[in-house]
Each structure stands twice: as structure tokens, then as C-alpha cells.
Amino acid sequence: MPPLTQIPPPPGQAGTLLASANKAMRAGQPDKAELHLERALRLAPRDAQLWHAMARVRFAQANYGQAVQFCLKSNSLAGRNNAIIGQNWLLMEKAYLQMGEKEKAAQARQKAGDRF
């Protein structure tokens, strides 16, 4: 999955916490990243990027059902932000594959393609 570099982080403290979460993810500590993100979401509760980051945490925790749900949540807040929506569908594809749901994965792949 490409990194989310093209999407500017939320401003201020929420952005700082997202950076801490990303760092924890890179260090292989999704549980720690989760705590940072929950904090960030309290400050910016409708930031689609934070919800997407949460989906990545759930994916790393092998909780694929919730990874999909957090992607859907992120999409519901993304408005017309195609970059985030595309990332969400890509992650959903991976999650569905992990769950053995090939058809849904293919659909997700298709929807991701529509956004790039």
C-alpha cells in the first residue's frame, strides 16, 4: 500500500499524535498506535484520515472485520477526498482477502481503481 504522503495531516495536536501513531506502527506496535489515534480522534473526531489510520491499526492487529468497518467509517467522512477513499478501498481489498472473501475483495479493488 502506498503511504499517505500526498494527504496533509490534520493540523496541530491531532497531527502530532497521528505522527506518533505512524511511528508506533513502523515500530510494529499497533496497540500503542491505537492509543495515540484514540487521543487524536478525541481532538479531531471527524477526520477521515485518522479513521483510516485506525483501520490500518486493526489490520495490523489481524482484526480484519473491524479494519473494513473503520474504512467504511473513514469513507463516510471523506466527502470528495478521493485519495483517502481510494486508500480505504485498497485496504478493504486486503482485509477481504485475509477473510477469504474474494468477491468482495475484487469489488473493493474495482472501487479503489475508480478513485485513482
Binding site: 496541530g12 496497540d31 491505537e34 492509543l35 480522534l41 478525541r42 471527524r46 473503520f70 467509517k73
Partner: protein, 781 residues
């Protein structure tokens, strides 16, 4: 068993020569007494060991409020921050230098945070200055480096704990955490021979006896620390010789089993040092925070002397109630310290000149929120045994927002009093729940009008008919079936057969019929007839399922009266339903606890975020727009007295039969709120949802300074101007039409009408509105 042993022991001495019969009996009696005593001592030994072991390891679970996140742009006044600081046990200093202190300057607050172990790691103490601009936190500057920071987090307020013995509180410290000056002072004043006696100090007893006889009253105690500890374990104030005797034996036993340092540490944690309303303050660690808002390690010699002086009689020498007595006692203690060379002359002089300087007892957050703690306890006992909660030293991080909670308590009590005056009825009660719109965190919970009265927690346990609060489920089910917001529905009388009862003839609140109305107005004006017709068309079972999907667990019979809210729910359950609406159709379980840490700060249990999409975002978007119409034009219009209409709040009123229950549920940009009013014996209140609960909701939300509600528009929505009087649509506003509203539609849903509607709208713009109206109306018939 005793008998047996006595017999055995008697046997050898039985026929012994040379002892007179009377002497024999005496020996026997003495033996009996000795054996009896031995057993009694063994019994006391068991009791005291159990007590000591139990006490040593019993670390009650501590419950914390959410930590306050401070960041530039936060809506918080310096006054609001001070309230939070007081709740979190910070003290106001002239100039804050130690952790846990703050001072206020012109437009700024300067503070030194306490180091704290958060679930995500340790945060060290640091010094900041926060600058305010009106009611907004403008910037945060870190002292020393002088750099502006993005944000900081305060250590959270302790709001309660779970104890083996209720109402007893302490902050358990280890021997290493006891300041040496405290230990020396304690020994100098209470027990000079502590390290050399074996539990009792006969010399001290004689000295005390002498002093008391000379004075003609009890002026001095001869009890060692060990004896005092034993006395504290059983906490009775009877002064009998028998008790003294027991105490003495147990003190000796304690010394036989445990080391001096263990006994000293137990004493420092156990000693009773005051009363804070319903909780007893035990141990020097908590007493230090309670009286001085400082950690024990940060106390000055004068403050240590004050606390040690209070051991003799915590309420008699209470620094707040009896400052003169307390000061006098402190000076005596300081005198002893000087004589015993614990402090030098200079220290003595400084300490003696220091003011008593205990912090006034204001705004301490401990056990202030029993209704919320009740919810926390209920969630915890599902996972843990009560004994573990009372002994394992767990740290429970909750979602309680003290600012919101206090606003709720204040507004609820005041509004209820006002409403009682207005209706002339007494006994009105209420319950409130405020949650975070995203995440399902419960920020505040009121279980009644008197927040400190624990007992019937109405927010969790009052199960009442929800009346029209159920209607969003009816309309959501209709939208799922293909209705649009403007689908015409008949608000006309109807009678429905009722299995096993009289036929049911629902009525509107105003007892009239309104004919053909666009669907959204049925919700906005809470029209019962239109709602029942929609619900019957959709199917009651579908509506029941919709309510369950919104987050209510349980089984409900699908009677038609369900459509008008003949279903009993608690305010907490209602909050879950509106939470799902507010978060765009995603079910997020309500959470009162976020994390539980073990005593060693490892994570024991996480109650993390979870979401589940239960409804199509488009349908929720349409429904929420209609709920905004309720507030803008419908039964919720009265909110404009409290909230600026530009906030676009969404909500719904509810009134049960005979006005027994008055409800309002709704949401703004950040919060979901549910208010219930009613009486405990289910009498009529004389209030509708709009004249009762709405008022409370409005007052609370106003106090919370809400953000505007912005609904994120899903893709595939098309907006149209709509005239409810003529059912006409237009992509641009109608010319000179008094009543028109811009409403969202699923892109496909008005396509069939789209072209012809657009044409005629063009006509109407060209010809003026009047002529074509009948034509447009004709299409819908």
C-alpha cells in the same frame, strides 16, 4: 478438643505426691487458665495476621476521569481551566514551582504538571504557561525552552476508588516513599523507643500514667506505634481494659511476626487522618494530597509537623475547622523536633513562622459523581470479581468529562426546580446522558436531580415509554423502503384492529388531522396519524428491527402502538439509539471505561473503539436532515431560545401518554444528549417533551458551548428546493414563495419526476408561481 488436651496434661500430675488437695485444684485451675490463654492468643494471632496481610496488599482500584487535553484553539476559559485543575487536585500557589501547582496571571495560567503514567506511557512533570484570549486557549508555551507546543495533557482527576471497606480511602506508599523527616517526626512524637521495644513500651506507659495523674485527665498516651496500628485495624473507640489487653497482646504478636519497617509502613498507610464527607482519609500519602494538595515527598517540615500532630485527633486538630488548635499542636511538634535535634535551629525558626497553609477544600473531584461511578462499577463487575477490584491496585481510566458532568448537574437541578414552579407539581425527577458524537464515549451522566444522592440511578434503571422518540426508526425504515423526504403521506384518522383488545384509534397531539403532508413534516411536527400510516405501510416488524439495528437489545412485540413509542427504554438505551444516528449510521457501543491498567501499569483491559455500519449513509443523511427540520421548524423549535439556529442541531421531542414522561434526544456537532423527565411513581408531569425535557436539553447544550452540526454529505445526493404547500421542486429558490425548504434526495429518487418538474418550474419562474400549482399537485395525486 480443648477438653482432650486438658485431660492429657492433667494425667501426669494427677496422682503426684506431696501436694495438698487444695493446692492440686489451684494448679489445675492455673493450668486451665494457661491453656485457655494460649488458645486465645493463638486466636488473636490469626486475627491480627490476617488483618495485617490483608491490609498490606489491599490496593483499591482507582478510578480516573478522562485526562484534559489542552491545545491552542480549545474553547476553554482560564476560569474553566482552574475548575479542572482543582478537580485534578492541583493547588493554587503564589508562584508554582513544584508539580501539581499553578498560579494565575493576567490572561494566563502558569502550571507545573505532575508526572503520570498514562495507558500509552509515562509523561514527565513539566512547566507551562497557557495564554488565553477570551474564552479560548490561545497558546501554550513550555517554560525553560520557551517553545510553543501543540498541546499537553493533564494528569486526570481521581474520581473514586473501590474499597474492601467502603468509604475508606488511601494512597498506599512503600517504605521507600516515606520521607525520612516524616518517619523521624513520627517516632519523636509518638514512639521514641519504636526500634527497641517489642510492641509495648512499659516506660512510656508509666510516663503517660504519671502525666495523666498529675494533670487529672488524659493528656498523654503511652501506646506504641504498633499498638496504635492494631487499634486502627479495628477502629473502635471503646476504651475498656479488655480492649487494651487485647491490643497489647496483638501488638506483641505483630512484632513477633513482622519487621519494624513493615510495621512502620503499614502504620503510615493505615492511620486515620480525617473525614472528607463520606470518605475516610487514611494514611499520610492521601492526607498530604487532601490537606495540602501536594505529594508527601514535597511537604515542608512545617507541613509534616502538622500531619503528625493530627495523629492524636484528626477532627480535633482539623486544620480547616480548627486552625488555631491545629497550629498550636504543630508548634508543640516542632518544639519536640528541635529538642530531639531532628531539625536544626534555622529549620525550626522557618517552620515555626510558616502559616498553616492547608488548601481550602474546593472542587475536589473525589466521589462527586456517584451515578457515573455506578455505571463504571457495573461494567467492571461483568469482567472482574469485586474482591479483585478492591485489592489489586488497578487503575481505571474512564471517559467522564468533569466539565460536562458539572454543567449537566447544575442545569438539570436548576431547570427542574423552575419547571416544578411553573407546573405547580412536585416530585419531578430527571436523568441526562451526554456522549461524544463519535466514539460512543459517555461524557456525563445524571441519575437524578440531586447528583450526590446515590440510590435510584434513573439514567440506567428508569425504563419508560419513549413516545415519539421512536419515530426516527419509523421514518428510517420508510427511507430504506424507498420513501423520499417529500413522499406525500396522509395524516388522517384510522382505526386498527388490536389482537385481543379494543381496536386502536390513534390521535394527533392536537386532536386534528392535517391531510396530505410531505413525509418529513410528519417527523418535524410529530404527526401521529401520518407516522402510523407510514409504519403500517412499512410493517411494524421492520420498524422494530430498525430500532434494534440502532442499538437497542431485547425483544419487542410488533404491535401497531409500537409506532408511537409504546416501548419502554432507559435513557441510556435511548442515548445509544441517537448515538447511531448521530455518527452517520455506524453503531458504536457506549463506553464509560477506556483502559484498565494493573498496579505495575501494564494494560489489563482495553475498551477500544469499535464501529459497525448498520445503515446506508445516504438514508441516515436524509433522516438527520429531517431531524434538523424538527429543531428548525417543528416541535423542537423552542430550542432557538437556548441555541443559535445556525448550529443546525438535530433532535426529537417525546411525550408519553398523559404526559408521564417528557423526553428530548438530539445532537450537535460534538455531542449527543438525552434528557428524560418524569416522576418515580409514574404520575403525569404536566409537561410535554417540548415544554420539559427540551428546556433542560437546551440549557445544558448552551452551557457546553456546542459546535455546529455539520452532516457530511455522502455521494449521490441531489438537493432541491421544495414547497410543502404545493409539493413543487426546483433547483433554484422559488420566487416569492413564503414557505420553502431545501432538501436532499437520493440522486435517482426524483429522477422520474425530474424532467417534468424542471420544465414546470421553468414555467413557474416565467409565469409566476400561482398558475401551475394545481398542475404540479396533480402529478402527485
Amino acid at each position: 478438643m480443648i477438653r482432650k488436651r486438658i485431660k492429657k496434661e492433667k494425667a501426669p500430675s494427677g496422682g503426684g505426691p506431696g501436694i495438698a488437695p487444695a493446692g492440686k485444684w489451684l494448679v489445675l485451675a492455673l493450668l486451665l487458665a494457661a491453656v485457655g490463654l494460649a488458645f486465645y492468643v493463638a486466636y488473636l494471632d490469626r486475627v491480627i495476621r490476617e488483618k495485617f496481610e490483608g491490609k498490606r496488599w489491599a490496593l483499591p482500584a482507582v478510578v480516573y476521569a478522562r485526562p484534559l487535553e489542552l491545545y491552542p484553539g480549545l474553547a476553554l476559559s482560564s476560569q474553566g481551566l482552574e475548575e479542572e485543575l482543582q478537580l485534578a487536585g492541583y493547588r493554587r500557589d503564589k508562584r508554582a514551582v513544584d508539580p501539581g501547582g499553578y498560579d494565575r496571571q493576567e490572561g494566563a495560567v502558569h502550571l507545573v504538571t505532575r508526572g503520570f503514567h498514562f495507558p500509552d506511557g509515562e509523561e514527565n512533570s513539566a512547566e507551562y504557561t497557557l495564554f488565553f484570549s477570551g474564552d479560548t486557549l490561545a497558546s501554550i508555551v513550555r517554560s525553560g525552552s520557551g517553545e510553543a507546543v501543540d498541546g499537553l495533557r493533564l494528569d486526570p482527576a481521581r474520581i473514586g476508588s473501590f474499597h474492601p471497606r467502603q468509604h475508606e480511602d488511601r494512597l498506599v506508599l512503600s517504605r521507600a516513599e516515606l520521607p525520612e523527616l516524616l518517619v523521624k517526626t513520627l517516632l519523636a512524637v509518638e514512639d521514641r523507643n519504636f526500634y527497641s521495644h517489642g510492641g509495648l513500651d512499659p516506660l512510656a506507659i508509666l510516663r503517660a500514667l504519671f502525666a495523666n495523674v498529675m494533670a487529672g485527665e488524659t493528656v498523654q498516651g503511652g501506646s506504641t506505634l504498633t499498638q496504635q496500628l492494631v487499634k486502627n485495624f479495628f477502629l473502635t473507640n471503646e476504651r475498656t481494659l479488655w480492649r487494651k489487653f487485647n491490643e497489647a497482646i496483638m501488638a506483641v504478636l505483630l512484632e513477633a511476626h513482622y519487621g519494624k519497617e513493615d510495621i512502620l509502613t503499614a502504620y503510615a498507610n493505615e492511620i486515620f487522618l480525617g473525614q472528607d464527607g463520606g470518605r475516610a482519609v487514611h494514611g499520610f500519602g492521601l492526607a498530604s494530597l487532601f490537606y495540602f494538595r501536594r505529594d508527601l515527598a514535597d511537604l515542608s517540615p512545617a507541613q509534616i509537623a502538622t500531619l503528625v500532630g493530627m495523629v492524636r485527633g484528626p477532627s480535633y486538630y482539623d486544620p480547616r475547622k480548627h486552625p488555631e488548635r491545629c497550629l498550636k499542636r504543630r508548634q508543640v511538634v516542632l518544639e519536640v523536633l528541635r529538642t530531639e535535634k531532628v531539625i536544626d535551629e534555622a529549620q525550626y525558626k522557618t517552620a515555626k513562622a510558616a502559616p498553616l497553609d492547608s488548601q481550602v477544600l474546593t472542587g475536589n473531584g473525589f466521589n462527586r459523581f456517584p451515578a457515573f461511578l455506578d455505571l463504571v462499577r457495573r461494567q467492571l463487575v461483568e469482567e472482574y470479581r469485586e474482591e479483585d477490584l478492591a485489592s489489586d491496585g488497578m487503575k481505571i481510566f474512564t471517559t467522564l468529562d468533569p466539565q460536562v458532568q458539572m454543567a449537566v448537574e447544575r442545569q438539570l437541578a436548576a431547570a427542574i426546580a423552575r419547571l416544578e414552579k411553573k407546573t405547580g407539581r412536585s416530585g419531578l425527577e430527571g436523568a441526562v446522558i451526554i456522549t461524544r458524537r463519535e466514539g460512543g464515549e459517555i461524557l456525563a451522566l445524571a441519575g437524578g436531580r440531586a447528583p450526590l444522592q446515590s440510590g435510584f440511578n434513573r439514567a440506567l434503571d428508569a425504563r419508560r415509554h419513549i413516545g415519539s422518540l421512536v419515530k426516527p426508526a419509523v421514518y428510517l425504515a420508510a427511507l430504506a423502503k424507498g420513501y423520499t423526504l417529500t413522499t406525500p403521506v396522509e395524516d388522517t384518522a384510522l382505526t386498527l384492529p388490536n389482537v385481543g383488545g379494543k381496536p386502536w384509534t390513534p390521535r394527533n397531539y392536537d386532536r386534528s388531522e392535517h391531510g396530505r403532508v410531505p413525509m418529513y413534516l410528519g417527523l418535524a411536527y410529530s404527526l401521529n396519524l401520518a407516522t402510523v400510516r407510514i409504519g403500517m405501510d412499512v410493517g411494524v416488524a421492520k420498524v422494530v428491527q430498525t430500532l434494534k439495528d440502532l442499538g437497542v437489545q431485547g425483544e419487542f412485540p410488533a404491535y401497531p402502538s409500537f409506532l408511537l413509542g409504546a416501548v419502554s427504554l432507559t435513557p441510556l438505551q435511548v442515548a445509544q439509539v441517537y448515538q447511531t444516528l448521530a455518527s452517520g449510521g455506524f453503531y458504536q457501543p457506549q463506553r464509560a471505561i477506556s483502559t484498565v491498567l494493573a498496579a505495575d501499569n501494564s494494560v489489563v483491559k482495553r475498551f477500544g473503539l469499535s464501529v459497525e455500519q448498520r445503515f446506508a449513509p445516504e438514508q441516515i443523511f436524509l433522516l438527520n436532515t429531517a431531524l434538523q427540520q424538527v429543531v428548525r421548524n417543528g416541535t423542537g423549535k423552542g430550542l432557538s431560545q437556548y441555541l443559535d439556529p445556525s448550529l443546525n442541531a438535530a433532535g426529537k421531542t417525546g411525550t408519553s401518554d398523559d404526559q408521564r414522561d417528557s423526553w428530548f434526544a438530539g445532537f450537535t456537532g460534538e455531542q449527543v444528549g438525552v434528557v428524560w423527565l418524569g416522576t418515580d411513581d409514574n404520575r403525569p408531569t404536566g409537561l410535554t417533551g417540548a415544554s420539559g425535557a427540551l428546556v433542560v436539553w437546551g440549557e445544558i447544550m448552551r452551557a457546553l458551548r456546542p459546535q455546529p452540526l455539520e452532516l457530511v454529505e455522502p455521494e449521490g445526493i441531489a438537493w432541491q428546493w421544495f414547497r410543502p404547500d404545493t409539493f413543487a421542486y426546483s433547483s433554484t429558490p422559488f420566487f416569492l414563495a413564503a414557505e420553502q425548504v431545501r432538501l436532499p434526495f437520493l440522486a435517482g429518487s426524483i429522477e422520474e419526476q425530474g424532467d417534468s418538474a424542471a420544465e414546470s418550474l421553468k414555467d413557474s419562474l416565467e409565469q409566476g408561481v400561482g398558475g401551475v400549482m394545481d398542475k404540479i399537485r396533480g402529478w402527485f395525486q
